[in-house]
């Protein structure tokens, strides 16, 4: 890919090509304003700053950010639902959520300005990926509490592109619409893109006859091999998008057409890479956990949020002209969170459902596999011998109830298998989570 990009290749050219010294001044100004606002408005930060005897006036340079405490997903979950809001609820115009049941849910609020900023930041990414107002975007992310679909949707509208808000599922209909509506850009998880390709092959559909020019992927880690497969099968450009729901959703970082790392919107988020064990800050090029601080969020500002994603920071200039640092594409996370069909799932959420339904917290094992490029998740649940052999009807009802609750609480469907104690004894040694997709 050559680096000859027209001015139209930027959505906000002044911001995207800002000089590094000007960027640092802007980051400092915004960080100081954010820190003094959270110290005043968010009880968690007020207490955390008090504990380390930090006064917002002491923040004198960007390096001082390292003195501030981290924010974890656990901290956010503890403050469920509204403990982290920095503005009164009546100023919030949108609410998104992650997870579903019990303590592991997190609620994110957005003010009118946050929504506007979000659309602009994601529009930058769309333009960087080659999308223009002439494109027809088919968004196959799930609409609902998740941030993915809405993040892309409003950015694409702002850009002037045509949006097909088809949401997830119903592959046959997805393909029909892709053909009939002349979709030029598919927005999808990489695994669903592969699944669509397989379905089109099975239908003997002539993929060369599609209007598709690009596939914007996100929502789950993938290998370069997957990108190659999608690009070759559909004759498209595949670009990666990095979303952090707690911080914004999509629009935090994304690839330009160079596809050499994901540009971070550094005028809105300060990235740091830390050693997840010692918590020390690591230099560019060294792999560690990505930590992000929001600089412009009004309703839900976060200081040093630990994303649990492992990556490196590349501060070398990019041929595309953007001056922002880039993240290496992600392949791993630091904790046990699973991404199943693009949805974040924590084993603790499965546990919460089991406890809720059964009252007795049975032993379980979560198995995730990939069949025909799609994630399949199964929960093995231990039941007593009497139930297992004697009460078939009760067994079926219990299984259906679990299936229904898991799907509704976690936002992704699971197969449920009931096993007796001896079976569970055998498989339990492998741990509560068995992810067969990486093999």
């Amino acid at each position: 890919m050559t680096a000859t990009l027209s001015p139209a290749a930027f959505w906000q050219p002044d911001e995207e090509r800002i000089r590094r010294d000007e960027l640092e001044q802007l980051q400092l100004e915004r960080l100081q304003a954010t820190v003094s606002r959270v110290a005043r408005s968010v009880p968690f930060y007020r207490a955390a700053f008090d504990t380390i005897r930090f006064d917002p006036d002491d923040l004198r340079s960007l390096d001082d950010l390292r003195r501030l405490p981290f924010t974890t997903k656990g901290d956010l979950a503890d403050a469920y639902p509204y403990g982290f809001l920095a503005v009164p609820l009546r100023e919030v115009v949108r609410l998104h959520g992650t997870g579903g049941s019990g303590s592991s849910g997190i609620v994110m609020g957005y003010t009118r300005n946050d929504i506007k900023t979000w659309a602009n930041l994601m529009a930058r990414m769309l333009v960087a990926e080659g999308v223009s107002k002439d494109d027809v975007l088919q968004i196959t992310f799930d609409y609902g509490l998740f941030t993915g679909a809405f993040g892309v949707h409003f950015a694409a509208e702002r850009l002037g592109a045509s949006v097909i808000p088809i949401s997830s599922g119903n592959t046959k209909r997805q393909i029909k619409i892709m053909v009939d509506y002349k979709t030029t850009a598919l927005v999808s998880t990489p695994s669903y893109a592969l699944h669509l390709i397989e379905a089109m092959r099975a239908d003997n559909l002539n993929m060369n006859a599609l209007s598709l020019r690009r596939v914007l992927v996100g929502g789950e880690p993938f290998r370069e091999e997957t990108r190659r497969q999608i690009q070759e099968a559909l004759n498209v450009t595949v670009t990666d998008n990095y979303a952090v729901s707690e911080l914004l959703g999509p629009g935090v970082a994304g690839e330009c057409l160079e596809r050499q790392g994901l540009h971070i919107n550094e005028d809105h988020f300060i990235p740091e890479i830390i050693d997840p064990v010692t918590l020390a800050t690591l230099p560019p090029g060294v792999e560690g956990e990505l930590v992000l601080t929001s600089l412009t969020k009004e309703a839900f500002p976060l200081i040093r949020f630990r994303t649990r994603d492992l990556t490196t920071l590349d501060t070398r200039p990019c041929p595309c002209g953007r001056t922002s640092a880039r993240l290496k594409r992600m392949e791993a996370r630091t904790d046990d969170m699973l991404i199943i069909k693009g949805v974040n799932v924590f084993p603790a959420q499965v546990e919460a459902v089991l406890r809720d339904v059964d009252q007795s917290a049975p032993r379980y094992q979560l198995v995730v596999e990939r069949r025909q490029a799609l994630d399949v998740a199964t929960v093995l649940v231990e039941v007593s011998q009497s139930v297992f052999f004697d009460e078939m009807r009760r067994q079926a009802g219990y299984r259906d109830l679990l299936r229904h609750r898991l799907a509704s609480d976690l936002g992704v469907s699971f197969d449920v298998k009931l096993v007796e104690k001896s079976t569970m004894d055998n498989v339990a040694a492998k741990g509560k989570v068995v992810d067969l997709r990486r093999r």
Binding site: Q25, L26, Q32, S41, P56, D57, P88, R90
Partner: protein
């Protein structure tokens, strides 16, 4: 053009500015808004060398001006239109204007001063009509125009205005803001300090909200106008989020 980093200013034991950072790009109109006592005037006095900060840095085109005298800072192209106009009531309008060109006179640029005077009088026809009149006999709005005209006589590249709308009737305020827009269009960078947040942000590109010596909000003027946080900060009514949280 102007870059300020973590500026601390204290009057005795009282901290007036605490870690203030801001920047003004060439050609921009930047508004600093905030309630009375937020530290706005102190900020302008610090930039112009009238008050010395405890810590921090003020840079003009990349060079620190902290050690410079006020006269030197004016010579570098920064002019201040002070709060309350502070024109010379016993001098004529003409003499008030010419006094603004003190630096140019010192440099022996009498011819240029003459041309500048012509330009300023053309910009403010009312001043031309009142050129021979004593400054003290002008109306509030006319005095404000005289103060702005006097500042322009120093040929600033950065014009700073402290509460130019204060005490003026709404129609006159609109006129003053129009004048500022015109000055900006002529290529002068403008830093505008105002309690009249709405009026100032309407003509600004970007803005900062100053509250008890700290910048609590910054952003494009458009975003700030839409921000409820800005409205709270500006009104000085700090509705505590906790008190309202959970109420729908």
């Amino acid at each position: 053009m102007l870059t300020i980093r973590t500026l601390d200013v204290a009057y005795g034991a009282v901290n007036v500015l605490r870690g203030v950072s801001l920047h003004v790009n060439q050609g921009e109109v930047v508004a600093i808004v905030g309630a009375n006592g937020a530290g706005k005037t102190t900020l302008l006095k610090t930039i112009t060398g009238l008050v010395r900060p405890r810590r921090g840095d003020v840079r003009l085109r990349g060079e620190s001006i902290l050690q410079d005298s006020t006269a030197r800072i004016v010579a570098r192209g920064c002019s201040l239109v002070p709060e309350g106009r502070q024109i010379f009531g016993d001098l004529t309008v003409h003499d008030n204007l010419v006094l603004g060109a003190y630096v140019q006179y010192r440099r022996g640029q009498a011819a240029e001063v003459k041309a500048d005077l012509k330009r300023v009088l053309k910009m403010f026809p009312i001043l031309e009509r009142r050129a021979g009149q004593l400054g003290g006999t002008l109306s509030g709005g006319e005095q404000q125009m005289l103060a702005i005209g006097r500042a322009l006589m120093a040929r600033p590249t950065l014009l700073m205005l402290d509460e130019p709308s204060m005490g003026l009737a709404p129609l006159v305020v609109r006129e003053i803001f129009e004048v500022i827009t015109r000055i900006s269009k002529d290529g002068c960078t403008v830093l505008l300090v105002e309690q009249n947040a709405r009026g100032a942000l309407k003509i600004a590109n970007r803005g900062y909200v100053l509250e008890t010596g700290r910048i609590v909000l910054e952003g494009s003027a458009e975003d700030l106008l839409a921000s409820r946080e800005m409205q709270r900060a500006y009104l000085g009514r700090d509705v505590h989020p906790e008190a309202e949280r959970g109420t729908t």
